[in-house]
């Protein structure tokens, strides 16, 4: 029986986020929130491990205003319960603070056999929480995992690095961050979604974790955020396929002339 913690973040859904065309500022106040893509890969991987090895999966979610509803999909995929630390104190939390809170929460629940994270959050894209959490807990880390296999007390992890795939053996417990390549998260059935509504979601107050104020003080501060704007012509080519093909051919020709 394995204990598995999966760290998930309530992130801005960057695919529906809009920006003000004049100021280029993201309209965060209208943003929708969801669990990030690679976090869902981590949940799916945990479920696959559980299916083979048996065990229990707990979601760990830390944020300034975590809504339990965003965890529904991850719960339906197969997590057993969830622990949320949600406090306005964490509004400007950076990865140092996130890692400290997650480490304290994981310790409080009892260090599991494996902690899984997404390689990077959907909105902030910092690529830090996995390694920072591992360091804080004094555990080995593996980032960009594309395959995890259990073998008597160790795991064999395949990592996608820039020039290839590395195969490593790692003693447990360990913190493993996964990318999109590792699996395709299952689409939960209606039955799974219904079952998920009965799974316990627990709130843990940040005070209970006993963190000192330096561990809750961000070291970095976000300043201005602006959309990278590119002016495009947005011309839809119309007509029969033949006519459109002729238009495309002349666009390609004129592009070639322009750039000679």
């Amino acid at each position: 029986m394995l204990n598995i913690h999966v760290c998930v973040k309530q992130s801005i859904d960057v695919n529906t986020l809009e920006f003000d065309p004049d100021t280029l500022r993201p309209l965060v106040e209208n943003a929708e929130y969801r669990i990030g893509d690679t976090d869902l890969n981590a949940v799916e991987e945990a479920v696959r491990i559980k299916e083979k090895m048996g065990g229990k999966i707990s979601l760990l979610c830390v944020g300034s205003d975590v809504r339990p509803a965003v965890l529904r999909e991850a719960m339906a995929i197969g997590a057993d319960d969830a622990y949320i630390v949600s406090d306005p104190l964490l509004r400007n939390a950076d990865q140092w603070v996130y890692a400290n809170v997650l480490a304290a929460l994981s310790k409080r629940l009892g260090i599991p056999d494996i902690i899984l994270c997404g390689e990077s959050s959907l909105d902030d894209g910092a690529y830090q929480v996995g390694p920072r959490l591992a360091e804080e807990l004094g555990l080995p880390s593996m980032t960009h995992a594309v395959k995890i296999e259990f073998r008597d007390g160790v795991i064999i992890v395949e990592r996608a690095v820039e020039d290839g795939v590395e195969v490593l053996e790692v003693g447990l417990p360990a913190v493993v961050s996964v990318g999109l390549e590792i699996n395709t998260p299952r689409l939960p059935s209606l039955l799974m979604i219904r079952a998920a509504s009965r799974k316990p979601i627990n709130f843990v107050s940040i005070q209970e974790l006993g963190l000192t104020s330096d561990k809750l003080t961000s070291l970095s501060r976000m300043g201005e955020v602006k959309a990278v704007k590119t002016q495009r012509k947005n011309i839809v080519l119309t007509g029969s396929l033949e006519e459109i093909a002729s238009k495309v051919a002349s666009i390609i020709r004129s592009e070639a002339v322009m750039n000679k």
Partner: protein, 315 residues
């Protein structure tokens, strides 16, 4: 003297990193590098004053301990490296141990008094954030193509010192490494790129796009699912946030929906043509020209039309 530690587990962009540190006014540049890569001449020309070489398996958990040790002794203002997977992991761990700030994938960096200000892509890559990092040292990984190199006129020979670490009770072992098949093409400098996405139903169908690319003298690229999930094309063809950032004169996206993580990689394309049968697909918002048609019906017509045109020109 203000110290910077430059972590080089790959020396490809050593000049860009050293030049960037010099431009920031850092004047004691210490390279931290695996023993087998050390190139004293190269380092000296661009202003390094010292090289600390190490022997350790290239396992981030272990290398981060060495870096922690070096940073604790040298008290640098800044620790920099390339925005690569192992470097980010080494920096994340070392920064946590030191209680230090870290920012990855920076496209700009400046020192402003007590803080270090960087810019980096956020929110899927469609946005750039300014971030201020407090305390000292600060860790930062840089996107190499965003920085320039300039040789140092007062080049000197750096001093080399070495440290050794053989993990005693190795919890982590590298047991194998498979090098990825490479297409041998650098998409980031291609003039014309034809990219394929999930609109293609099977691998064999990519022939349609390859034929078009052949006619145009274009390179083939793809969105992340094609290389990472389906593995129809090698990873170095992947265009987007975690892949290649390209700047061709003409970019043709075929059967690509245009998620922000892909689009960020083509923002610098001069002209974008999108072929996608879904009029609501976000790729159309990012395109100069949109063809709203089934790629399976349209590509053969387009290829025929282009061939006819070429025939005419020749005749």
């Amino acid at each position: 003297m203000i110290t910077a530690i430059i972590f080089m587990d790959d020396w490809t962009f050593v000049h860009e990193l050293l030049s960037t540190c010099r431009a920031l006014g850092l004047d004691n540049l210490v390279i931290f590098s695996p023993d087998e890569l050390v190139d004293v001449e190269k380092a000296g020309t661009y202003g390094a004053s010292e090289i600390i070489s190490y022997r350790s398996p290239p396992i981030p958990t272990y290398v981060s301990r060495l870096l922690f040790q070096v940073v604790s002794e040298r008290h640098p203002r800044l620790v920099v490296g390339l925005a690569r997977k192992n470097v980010r992991e080494v920096f994340g761990r070392a920064a946590q141990r030191l209680g230090a700030a870290c920012a990855n994938n920076c496209i700009d960096i400046e020192i402003a008094g007590d803080i270090i200000r960087i810019r980096r892509p956020v929110l899927g890559g469609g946005y750039v954030a300014v971030q201020e990092l407090a305390g000292s040292p600060v860790f930062a990984t840089l996107q190499p193509d965003a920085f320039k190199s300039s040789p140092n006129s007062s080049a000197k020979k750096p001093v080399v010192t070495s440290i050794d670490m053989t993990p005693k009770n190795g919890l982590i072992k590298i047991i194998d490494k498979r090098l990825t098949e490479k297409s041998g093409v650098d998409l980031s400098v291609a003039e014309r790129v034809v990219a394929v996405g999930r609109g293609f139903r099977k691998k064999e169908d990519l022939g349609l796009a390859e034929e078009l690319a052949g006619l145009l003298g274009a390179e083939i690229g793809c969105s992340r699912p094609i290389s990472s999930d389906l593995k129809w094309l090698p990873e170095d063809r992947h265009i987007g946030l975690s892949g290649k950032w390209i700047r061709p004169k003409l970019y043709i996206a075929i059967g690509i929906s245009g998620q922000i993580q892909h689009v960020v990689g083509v923002k610098k394309a001069k002209t974008i043509l999108a072929i996608n049968n879904d009029p609501n697909s976000p790729i159309h918002r990012e395109a100069d020209y949109s063809v709203i048609a089934d790629l399976y019906e349209f590509l053969p017509v387009l290829v025929r039309r282009l061939r006819e045109g070429m025939g005419k020109e020749r005749g």
